[in-house]
């Protein structure tokens, strides 16, 4: 059953080749090829419905791909549940709508997975959680419930919750889209800090300022395909494809 051996060095965090996905008959992702190096910061942008969220959700198997291969951190995503749980515990994900657990306090949100998945002793898990909450600058909210926090605070807790699993890769799915303008900055600042610490990150976002500042590579997707990718400087100043030019003119135009 061994498929063609793909030569992957330790430097590759995520390897995606010839990946295709359909929702019923609708072809959402078409022949995606992507290699993400360790420590690389990638920003994925594109019009809505272009498949960018679906792409990163495939990386931790929240969506199943039907064709092609995805190898995360040396482990291939197959139907094997053990592999899926292993990859999910190594890959952190932050969502547009935070998805904090409303019945648990901030601290409990952060310690839940380390205690049950990593089997970290409760005391140690709490120490790690406080450390991460300090990193996102809200240790004073540790004993509040998510419903008592502002949107920006909730999103930072969500980031801390992912970090508590000590992930090697972080996925950000439009994490600032549901926030009020004055809260976007606090979340972006947290992400910038994370990027400076050397985390491997894939961010789906419309924040082009953030892309310019931290991205090593910007990927533009349209109609389920990767249309263009480049380093931010060239991507923004000299876009090659017409679709990219149109998209950039629409979001930067005003």
């Amino acid at each position: 059953m061994e498929k063609t051996k793909i030569n992957i060095t330790d430097e590759v965090a995520i390897h995606i080749s010839e990946m295709n996905k359909w929702y019923g008959n609708f072809h959402v992702l078409r022949d995606i090829n992507l290699e993400v190096m360790r420590g690389e910061r990638i920003v994925v942008c594109g019009p809505s419905g272009s498949g960018k969220s679906t792409l990163i959700r495939c990386i931790n198997r929240l969506e199943e791909h039907q064709k092609g291969r995805i190898i995360v951190d040396g482990t291939e995503l197959t139907t094997d549940l053990k592999n899926i749980d292993k990859i999910r515990s190594e890959v952190g994900m932050v969502f547009q709508h935070f998805n904090l657990f409303p019945h648990l306090t901030t601290l409990e949100n952060c310690t839940l997975a380390p205690i049950w998945v990593r089997e970290t002793p409760a005391k140690e898990a709490q120490e790690i959680a406080m450390e991460m909450l300090e990193k996102v600058k809200i240790p004073e909210q540790a004993n509040k419930y998510p419903g008592q926090l502002s949107g920006g605070q909730q999103q930072r807790v969500a980031i801390a919750r992912s970090l508590c699993m000590k992930p090697r890769i972080m996925l950000f799915d439009e994490v600032t889209s549901a926030l009020d303008p004055e809260m976007i900055k606090e979340v972006l600042d947290t992400m910038i800090q994370l990027a400076e610490d050397g985390m491997t990150m894939i961010c789906v976002t419309h924040e082009m300022g953030f892309a310019r500042q931290v991205a090593d590579r910007v990927i533009f997707m349209d109609d389920g395909q990767i249309v263009e990718q480049n380093e931010p400087e060239s991507f923004f100043n000299k876009p090659q494809s017409d679709r990219t030019k149109l998209f950039l003119s629409q979001i930067l135009g005003h």
């Binding site: 657990f101 019945h103 839940l112 998945v117 419930y145 419903g147």
Partner: protein, 426 residues
């Protein structure tokens, strides 16, 4: 300067609300007499209350408690209640045909019941949870009597099974499934081959037993509580599993759960009780004597489990998909995420519906009177068939209603307490 420009220079300090809006007068004005229509409704309601109570209160207040028969009551004063029937028959209403010299047994059972549910209802006392586990066996032994070991052996069997499971996991295999199956096999073999001998040996060494009381002797409010509480405790986990099964991606499990729920919900409880009392004997091999109370409990449990499943499914549907995704993305397994993330929230949303089902189940236990078990309602007919009390209605049913009301109102109050306690958004 433009006419639109405006700058507020003084900060307006807060001042107290007008007296007519606060305090007793304010409350009356706001809630009872806020408009002419509201005032009319208030006066009408007071009038109706008056009509009802002006007859009821003298009737109940002046009631007789110590006459020998209904005749005697009517001779004294036909316009007031004749509670003497309760004085004469209250033991029967509570204990049914249970032997009078053994009344202490159901009494002790229900006092202990209170202690056994406290650790479940109030997390503060969770360290006494061991008593809640021992209690069911203790209650069965106290109520039905016989040797303590015939109940104790079940605990011994399960204890050995759990012990084996832990030992296997510690020392021999890491695989939960293998350890689980072998411990279950062990428990089954234990019950088939060893338990009978062990019970006999234990009986000789430490003989503790109570005079046996057969199921048909159970009755009165005791029976309602036995059926109701066992049904409530058993239907809750079954309901959760059915709700999860109905949402499952595995088509066969889903089909079985949907089929079960729709079938049970589509059939009246009385039909199921008749099946339990009459038909089941045709299907079982001849000679098997399957306890009637147990049969009724099984039917009542299945019935309310189906309702419970639908109530919990409503709670599950109320959760955003993001909760599943977030717990999956953290690497929690399916059962972990159900137990730690999904169920606590889904059950919280469903508390009113769950308690509703519990209350419904508890009151439905009165239907067992139709298959001639002697629950309070069944006993009321028996008592009224007696010449001494023939013709009495109100007093009996008011008393029975009051007994059920106390328990159901308690459940309802607890559910409201729980909802307040679990409120985390403000």
């Amino acid at each position: 300067m433009s006419k639109l420009a405006f700058v507020q220079k003084n900060k307006i300090p807060p001042s107290p609300a007008p007296i007519s809006e606060v305090g007793v007068i304010g409350w009356l004005k706001q809630n009872l007499f806020s408009s002419w229509f509201n005032t009319l409704l208030t006066l009408l309601s007071i009038y109706f209350l008056f009509i009802i109570l002006k007859d009821f209160i003298p009737w109940a207040w002046g009631g007789h408690w110590d006459t020998k028969s209904l005749r005697e009551c009517l001779d004294l004063n036909p316009d007031v209640a004749c509670f003497s029937v309760l004085t004469a028959r209250w033991k029967q209403l509570l204990f049914g045909l249970y032997p009078a010299e053994e009344y202490w047994r159901p009494t002790v059972t229900f006092i202990l019941l209170i202690f056994s549910i406290i650790p479940i209802l109030f997390p503060k006392f969770f360290r006494f949870f061991w008593f809640s586990i021992i209690y069911p066996g203790l209650a069965i032994w106290l109520l039905w009597g016989g040797s303590i070991w015939s109940v104790g052996i079940v605990y011994i069997g399960f204890f050995l099974g759990v012990l084996l499971f832990i030992l296997l996991l510690r020392n021999i295999t890491k695989n939960m499934v293998i350890a689980g199956i072998s411990s279950i096999l062990f428990v089954i073999l234990f019950f088939i081959f060893f338990s009978n001998y062990l019970v006999k040996i234990l009986d000789i060494i430490i003989p503790i037993s109570l005079p046996p009381v057969e199921s048909l002797k159970m009755g009165g409010f005791t029976l309602s509580l036995i059926v109701g509480i066992t049904g409530i405790v058993a239907s809750f986990p079954i309901g959760i599993l059915l709700a999860l099964g109905r949402q499952s991606n595995l088509p066969i499990i889903k089909m079985i759960c949907v089929g079960f729920i729709e079938f049970i919900r589509g059939v009246p409880l009385i039909t199921l009780l008749f099946v339990a009392s009459v038909l089941l004997n045709y299907f079982l091999p001849p000679g098997t004597n399957f306890d009637i109370v147990l049969r009724v409990i099984i039917m009542v449990t299945l019935f309310s489990a189906a309702y419970m499943a639908e109530v919990i499914r409503g709670g599950l549907a109320g959760l955003p998909l993001g909760q599943h995704e977030a717990s999956a993305s953290l690497g929690l397994t399916y059962w972990q995420s159900q137990r730690l993330v999904i169920m606590p929230q889904a059950l919280k949303i469903s508390i009113p519906g769950i308690v509703n089902t519990f209350i419904g189940l508890f009151k439905d236990t009165t239907l067992v009177s139709i298959i001639s078990l002697r629950d309070p309602v069944g006993l009321a007919s028996t008592i009224r068939a007696d010449q001494t009390w023939n013709g009495i209605y109100w007093e009996l049913y008011v008393a029975i209603g009051l007994m059920f009301f106390v328990v159901c109102f308690g459940m309802s109050q607890y559910s409201q307490y729980l909802e307040r306690k679990l409120k985390t958004d403000k």
